[in-house]
């Protein structure tokens, strides 16, 4: 009861109590804060959606490519090099096996119908799905094709074994991939590139399809092509001086964001050269600290009375030295906007089953707007000029994902050198920032 009365008294007293607040706290300030909060959400949502969309597209593209190994894509390219010459031994073994089921191992058999002609080559017209292969009216299994038939001699099979209907696509793809002298960028499906930069294939590796697929064959498929590329790159570098040897030390972070559009020419063998336009921002902010040491000498004196006769007074001097450390700190920041004309080189290659791209480029250009003081870890300089010559360079290496037959996404972990020439100071300042980028490539 006592407690209740006590609490009630307090509640009554505090119920209508009002407290004043500072002038900065106003209705307008609250609304501003609210707007800012809303804007923050609005700003981030599309960014998150775009990034998620890119990753989703990359994933779907990758899945599409993986899955499409088993899809029927007609017409297809016949490759001269895929010449199957199975050995007698292997063939005899497989004759005995008759119709062997391989579905437990995930391998499907296929049907090969042979005709009595004089050619020795096996022309792979299409990756197909059906289950059995027959040769000389005998059923053989697909693993024969993949394994023994691939490199073996088959002198008694003097007929072209033409895969006319569906066969196990995976096995055929493997077979073609394993064929000797096959170009790394050769896509067994013919139409869709494994990666970009696969033009100018050697003629001996290309064979024009026959029959119903001949009309659909476009020889321009393997000619040099033009590509367009749009990319964004970011990166950062921490500037810190832990030595304590320098009077001035800076603790800061540099960031950059670069956006570029390029036109690339495919020169074949996975190499592309190109140029375009690039816009970049190079930002730094941090704190400088100046350490000044000063030695101060203090001399204290006092009189000491010596009581031994004759009594006398002795003045004693006590000297002490103090090292006084004075720390001065301040904020520092700069921002350099620049426009450049990149000279770009790209090299596309396959590592395992993933297509990769090595990108190198030089970006000569000029700064368009500069503010603040550029800093290194032990010094800083004011940037007085708006227009300076700048030279950037980028080196990136990352996987590429075909989103469709025309669009490719490239992920680019990268290192980017930023530099500018200060005419008044006659010095070049440069730093390498590391980061991540994404590029979309479009085939024309």
């Amino acid at each position: 009861m006592e407690e209740n009365r006590f609490n009630q008294t307090l509640r009554d007293k505090f119920q209508d109590l009002e407290s004043p607040f500072n002038d900065r706290v106003t209705f307008e300030a609250v609304m501003k804060k609210r707007e800012k909060k809303k804007r923050r959400v609005i700003f981030w949502l599309p960014s998150v959606a775009v990034v998620a969309g890119l990753f989703l597209s990359a994933g779907l593209g990758y899945m599409f490519l993986s899955d499409s190994n088993s899809a029927v894509k007609l017409p297809q390219v016949a490759l001269k090099n895929v010449v199957v010459k199975p050995s007698k031994k292997a063939f005899a073994k497989n004759q005995n096996e008759k119709s062997e089921s391989l579905d437990g191992a995930g391998i499907k058999s296929a049907v090969i119908s042979s005709k009595n002609t004089s050619s020795k080559s096996l022309k792979v017209s299409s990756p197909v799905n059906n289950q059995n292969l027959t040769a000389n009216n005998k059923i053989i299994t697909a693993n024969t094709l993949v394994g023994d038939l691939l490199k073996a001699e088959l002198p008694f099979v003097n007929a072209p074994v033409h895969v006319v209907e569906e066969a196990a696509a995976t096995n055929l793809v493997d077979m073609i991939n394993n064929a000797e002298n096959q170009l790394i960028f050769c896509d067994p499906r013919g139409i869709y590139p494994v990666s970009i930069g696969m033009s100018r294939m050697k003629e001996e590796f290309i064979e024009i399809p026959e029959g119903e697929y001949e009309k659909a064959w476009d020889p321009a498929r393997y000619r040099s092509k033009w590509y367009g590329e749009m990319g964004a790159t970011t990166g950062s570098k921490v500037i810190v001086d832990f030595d304590n040897k320098n009077a001035l030390s800076v603790l800061g972070t540099m960031y950059h964001a670069n956006y570029q559009g390029l036109i690339l020419r495919d020169l074949g063998n996975g190499i592309m050269l190109g140029t375009g336009i690039s816009y970049g921002e190079w930002i730094g902010n941090g704190e400088w600290q100046l350490t000044q040491t000063e030695r101060k000498t203090f001399i204290d004196s006092y009189d000491l009375v010596v009581m031994i006769p004759p009594v006398q007074t002795v003045r004693v001097y006590d000297t002490s030295e103090v090292i006084h450390v004075k720390l001065t700190t301040g904020d520092i920041q700069y921002k350099i906007d620049k426009v450049s004309l990149p000279l770009a080189m790209r090299y596309n290659l396959m590592l395992g089953k993933v297509a990769w791209r090595l990108a190198a480029q030089l970006n000569p250009g000029i700064t368009t707007k500069t503010t603040g003081d550029y800093f290194t870890k032990t010094e800083y300089h004011s940037i007085s000029q708006q227009r300076m010559f700048c030279m950037d360079a980028k080196l990136a290496f990352g996987p590429t994902f075909a989103l469709s037959s025309d669009w490719t996404l490239v992920l680019e972990p990268n290192a980017m050198l930023h530099s500018f020439y200060d005419k008044s100071g006659k010095r070049t300042y440069s730093k390498v920032l590391t980061g991540f980028g994404m590029t979309i490539v479009r085939k024309f």
Partner: protein, 178 residues
């Protein structure tokens, strides 16, 4: 303008209604924030954040209590979250220590501003529990859930707060008599 009109206006983002809501309750909520926060600046920031929350969540107000009570609850929750974020260490005391002498009419003759000053001077843990229990009327069980502490800890913090307040009252009375 009635409470309902005010709420509906704010939901419609009507500036006049939003300003009216600010003018009507901001000083009262400020007195609440001051009791929970460590400084005037912190209280002012909390007040503004509370209003942002209130404007954003008014559509969830179901008129089951008065608007002021609802707004106070939103503000208290915001202040509590701030206190929890600071990771305050809560301590318990033994049962014997609850039995301290505290006159139930101790505050009767004191000005509210004087009490406020004494409450503000309490350590964070005491002050928070004291505010929630004695002034806002939450139970120790609710306070325990809100602050993530035991019911017993809440009781002991309240007991300590009362003890500290009694000492301050005694001091001020002693000073006045002298």
């Amino acid at each position: 303008m009635t409470e309902k009109e005010l709420v509906e206006g704010c939901i419609r983002e009507d500036r006049i209604c939003q300003r009216e809501l600010w003018d009507r309750y901001s000083k009262k909520l400020m007195s609440l924030c001051v009791r929970y926060c460590n400084s005037q600046e912190e209280a002012e920031d909390a007040l503004m954040e509370a209003y942002v929350k209130i404007y954003d969540n008014l559509k969830n107000f179901r008129f089951q209590s008065s608007l002021e009570t609802w707004m106070r609850r939103v503000s208290v929750n915001l202040c509590i979250n701030k206190i929890r974020a600071r990771k305050h260490i809560w301590t318990s005391i033994s049962d014997d220590e609850y039995r301290i002498g505290f006159k139930d009419d101790a505050f009767d003759n004191l000005q509210v501003q004087h009490i406020m000053k004494m409450v503000e001077a309490l350590p964070v843990g005491y002050r928070t529990v004291f505010n929630l229990y004695a002034i806002e009327g939450y139970s120790h069980k609710d306070i325990g859930e809100m602050l993530g502490i035991d019911e017993g800890t809440s009781r002991s913090q309240f007991a300590k707060a009362r003890k500290a307040l009694q000492i301050q009252i005694d001091k001020s009375e002693g000073g006045a008599q002298a």
